[in-house]
Subunit: 252 residues, 2 copies
Amino acid sequence: MAVSVPKQAESETTTDRRPSLHERILKDVEGRILSGEWPPGHRIPFEHELTLQYGCSRMTVNKALTDLVKRGLIERRRKSGSYVMYPHTRSAVLEIRDIKSEVEALGLDYGYECLMRTQRKATVSDRLILELRSTDEVLAILARHSAGGQPFCLEERLINLSAVPEAAAESFATSAPGPWLIGRVPWSAAEHKIRAVVADKHTAGLLGLGLGAACLIIERRTRNNGRYVTHVKLTYSGDRHELVAEFAPTRS
Amino acid sequence: MAVSVPKQAESETTTDRRPSLHERILKDVEGRILSGEWPPGHRIPFEHELTLQYGCSRMTVNKALTDLVKRGLIERRRKSGSYVMYPHTRSAVLEIRDIKSEVEALGLDYGYECLMRTQRKATVSDRLILELRSTDEVLAILARHSAGGQPFCLEERLINLSAVPEAAAESFATSAPGPWLIGRVPWSAAEHKIRAVVADKHTAGLLGLGLGAACLIIERRTRNNGRYVTHVKLTYSGDRHELVAEFAPTRS
DNA sequence: CAGTGGTCTAGACCACAGT
DNA sequence: CTGTGGTCTAGACCACTGC
């Protein structure tokens, strides 16, 4: 019969045990890396050494170090040890939010209106964008989001009706397709393209901009189960809107 | 004395054991979620049930499910169970690459030239941007990156010399400060702002653009050890450059 | 060959939230 | 009170790799 083992083996800093042990180990090592004490290329202690330092089992140490690998801070090689990674590619987490919450976060009233809604057989352009067969049908929507009574963002959306047939029954007259799709369709991957353009006459008119104004364009194509579900092109007034991205030391 | 336990307890799909067991469990559950078989709100099997299904210990199941929590796919509540998350905020991983590799990835020759380099006591503007004291010194650099002989991107950089005193000895005449900093200064966090503007006369001249061209601006402020290390403003020609972001189901 | 990490086990105790 | 997840242990076997 197995013996009940005392929980804490104690090293020295025995106070606050709110954070779990593997979390504390992770933070300790992370701290030494970020402070520069352990520079890129430095070999961090072996698992069995940390095991002794923290008075815990190898699984616990392993969990912390495995997490650090996922965060891209260290790299581990068998027989050799664990090394602080050289920062090579940096990634930023760009949070693509729901437009309504985006507007409300600015403390403004949100408005939505559907300017156009067409159901059609996929055109050549549609087929290129969503990788469709010519027999597929799509729903094309042009809508405008507003903030505080002013035009905020133009949405040009294409929905693959073969992937989301229920969308055909929705009018999207008073609520945007984005949130509807999010609540209904499981997502697995998406690609984003971000670029700047000068507003053309049509866009400028719909967004209430002067001719020649700069616009920020975000295009997103969402994939699930091996096919593209939807494509959306969002056009923002360039000087009224700013994308903010937080940094993340993600693995790459 | 502990008994050596047979490694595999086998359920049914016993073939390929290249992927580890916890990885297989993770993929299985992930697959059911992404396929829509387990929709948002669905309660996935308890750990002890999966333990039986896969014929493994609870730790192995727990590892898989803990990973799914970190990926934002499920949520776990004690006494209640584990539930498929409703997708609320979606995040995209925006990869901010080194400009040189960016250019070379396009198959073009990369060029760099330093247009201005000033070392000075922090101005009011500098102090606001990097949160400095008035006694701090900064290095200000204006540089141009080119691709295939054409101007590609303008870099306006500010380096906090209190954080990186070694930078004062660098001329940055023939190599960009970005890669130099990356190899030298540990990073912990950064903020990005992305927006579109119309090129002013000066910028248009330096980038070889027509008046009124749209530009994509990326500003990045890098933090380490509680202070800002550097700030950089990159100005790209809007229609020649496109930011690409991959999707990531990161926790939020 | 020997040492490292990768993975797994069969238990255990605890915190917490429903009932 | 009971059942769930959160964490941890003291082992174990294996794959890989540098010597």
